[in-house]
């Protein structure tokens, strides 16, 4: 559906994108993660036809990004969208729909909870209302592909949950989405695949679970006993540290063997166990590790 090959982009001496290759399937939600300055917005904006590229090829259903915009294949919610202060949501929706030669989609304004704000000037809308308006505008022409750049930034919890529901519903309707976000939980829960962009290159790509699982030693076993104890060295679990709450932590490549070894020791010594937990590495921790690997390189 979308194919990106060898994408390069510089701003002067700053080489922002250093050869991006990416292929997106139909009805997929693809998450783009990356630290600030990694090139996420630049990459998205090139794919959206808003920026030029120095090298590389982008194919969006057989079209260039600019053609895809003209043909209404793309819907775009930008990280920092704006409209003139005196423009109302109804004015904006009418303008956007006129340029797509279609009926004015007031139903979308209602669907995104802007029914009462239809005639309110843009300057009087809240941050959440503005975000929802731009999402409604991006969807007005029923695009096949939707780009969402930090869609929940600045939203309160309620608005964030509502937007997540909207994104899930849009996927059910067959939309393909590209989502750039700093919110790991959001990406982990919404995206089918994730690309981690670091220093202008996609360092990892795959499902959020696969990215987390591909690293060895990601399971942390945390144990809390009723009394202090001198722990031995285990074969399958390496001592990781101690938490402020008194949990002793081990890191293990083989969660089952490590757990059995620790539990065996507890039983053998008749220790009073207060708490034991297994913790898998989260996407956020994995993301930080990948970003740090790049810094080290």
């Amino acid at each position: 559906m979308i194919k990106v090959e060898g994408l390069h982009k510089s701003y002067g001496a700053n080489h922002v994108l250093r050869g991006i290759d990416l292929a997106l399937e139909k009805n997929e939600i693809f998450g783009l993660l990356g630290p600030n300055g990694a090139g996420k917005t630049t990459m998205l904006e090139i794919m959206e036809g808003l920026r030029t590229r120095e090298e590389g090829h982008i194919d969006i259903m057989g079209h260039t990004p600019a053609e895809a915009v003209r043909k209404g294949i793309l819907g775009v919610q930008l990280q920092s969208s704006s409209l003139p202060e005196v423009m109302t949501p109804l004015d904006a929706m009418t303008l956007f729909c006129r340029w797509r030669n279609q009926e004015v989609r007031t139903d979308l304004l209602s669907r995104f909870g802007l029914e009462k704000e239809m005639k309110k000037p843009y300057k009087h809308l809240s941050m959440g209302q503005k975000r929802r308006l731009h999402l409604a505008l991006a969807l007005a022409h029923e695009p096949g592909i939707l780009f969402l750049d930090e869609p929940t930034a600045g939203l309160d919890v309620e608005a964030r949950v509502a937007l997540h529901e909207d994104i899930k519903n849009m996927k059910k309707k067959g939309l393909t989405m590209v989502l750039a976000s700093h919110d790991m939980a959001e990406v982990e829960s919404l995206c089918d695949r994730v690309g981690i962009l670091v220093s202008g290159r996609i360092k990892k790509i795959g499902s959020p679970r696969a990215i987390v699982d591909e690293v060895a030693g990601e399971t942390i076993i945390r144990v809390k006993l009723a009394t202090p104890h001198e722990w031995p060295v285990f074969t399958h679990a390496e001592r990781h540290g101690e938490s402020a709450e008194g949990h002793v932590e081990w890191q293990t490549e083989d969660a089952l063997e490590g757990l059995l070894e620790i539990l065996g020791h507890i039983k053998k010594n008749d220790l009073a166990l207060l708490d034991i937990t297994l913790k898998k590495q989260t996407l956020e921790e994995r993301f930080i590790a990948i970003a740090k690997e790049d810094d080290a390189e």
Partner: protein, 240 residues
């Protein structure tokens, strides 16, 4: 309604919702017209001869350079520009609608002045309405184009104010609408000569088209369109 027509219609409506437009296109020019009309014609009766061209030039200059340019600025800011581009709305449609909206507003005030000035202040009618309106349009078009060019050059409201004033004040002081152009010292009259308002004043107070002034005003139009095209291309080529 065709998208281009709707964009013009919407921009005109949005302008009418803007207090800035009411002040710069309507209130200040009309108040200034009444003050100048009442005071100047009483103190210097010969002002009656030039009251109409003076006031319509003032109205167009203020409206285009301060009002129209101000209403375009929000559309030139990156987030709005990108939002429109991503929706497939050509930026040229915004520029065209800004031009037409400005034209409509300024024509309304011009007709008001033309109608009221002779009745209220005994102002002289134009010697030739054909020459008057010919000169007026040849002046209004480049002036509005300058009003469109300035926000494309300025990066923010404070710079736009400086740029607007840098054109507005010389247009008022050096074009012959406040003082006779012939009285200006050489250097100032040279500056005045490159301002559209100067040539408009020369045309609108004559009964025949002075060919040099006509050509100068005509020359402004392609030059300004080229500059606008260049700035628009620079803005839209790459947002970085």
């Amino acid at each position: 309604m065709k998208p281009w027509l709707y964009t013009i219609y919407l921009k005109t409506r949005l302008d009418w919702r803007s207090s800035e437009i009411w002040i710069t296109h309507f209130l200040v020019p009309i108040i200034f017209f009444f003050v100048v009309g009442a005071v100047f014609t009483a103190v210097m009766p010969e002002t009656e001869e030039t009251l109409i061209p003076t006031m319509v030039i003032f109205t167009a200059t203020m409206g285009a350079l301060i009002g129209t340019s101000g209403t375009l600025l929000p559309y030139t800011e990156t987030p709005t520009r990108k939002s429109l581009k991503a929706a497939g709305i050509p930026f040229s449609s915004i520029l065209l609608s800004t031009f037409v909206a400005g034209l409509i507003n300024l024509l309304i005030v011009t007709f008001f002045i033309l109608f009221v000035a002779p009745l209220a202040f005994n102002a002289a009618h134009p010697q030739s309405y054909a020459v008057f309106f010919g000169g007026y349009f040849l002046f209004l078009v480049p002036t509005l184009l300058v009003g469109i060019l300035l926000p494309l050059l300025a990066k923010d409201a404070s710079r736009l104010t400086i740029y607007s004033q840098a054109v507005f004040l010389p247009s008022m002081l050096l074009s012959g609408i406040m003082f006779p152009f012939e009285m200006l010292p050489g250097a100032l009259s040279a500056i005045g000569y490159i301002l559209p308002a100067t040539h408009a004043m020369m045309i609108m107070t004559e009964d025949a088209f002075p060919i040099v002034n006509l050509l100068v005003l005509l020359g402004f139009i392609p030059a300004l369109l080229l500059l606008i095209g260049w700035r628009m291309h620079r803005l839209l080529l790459d947002e970085g």
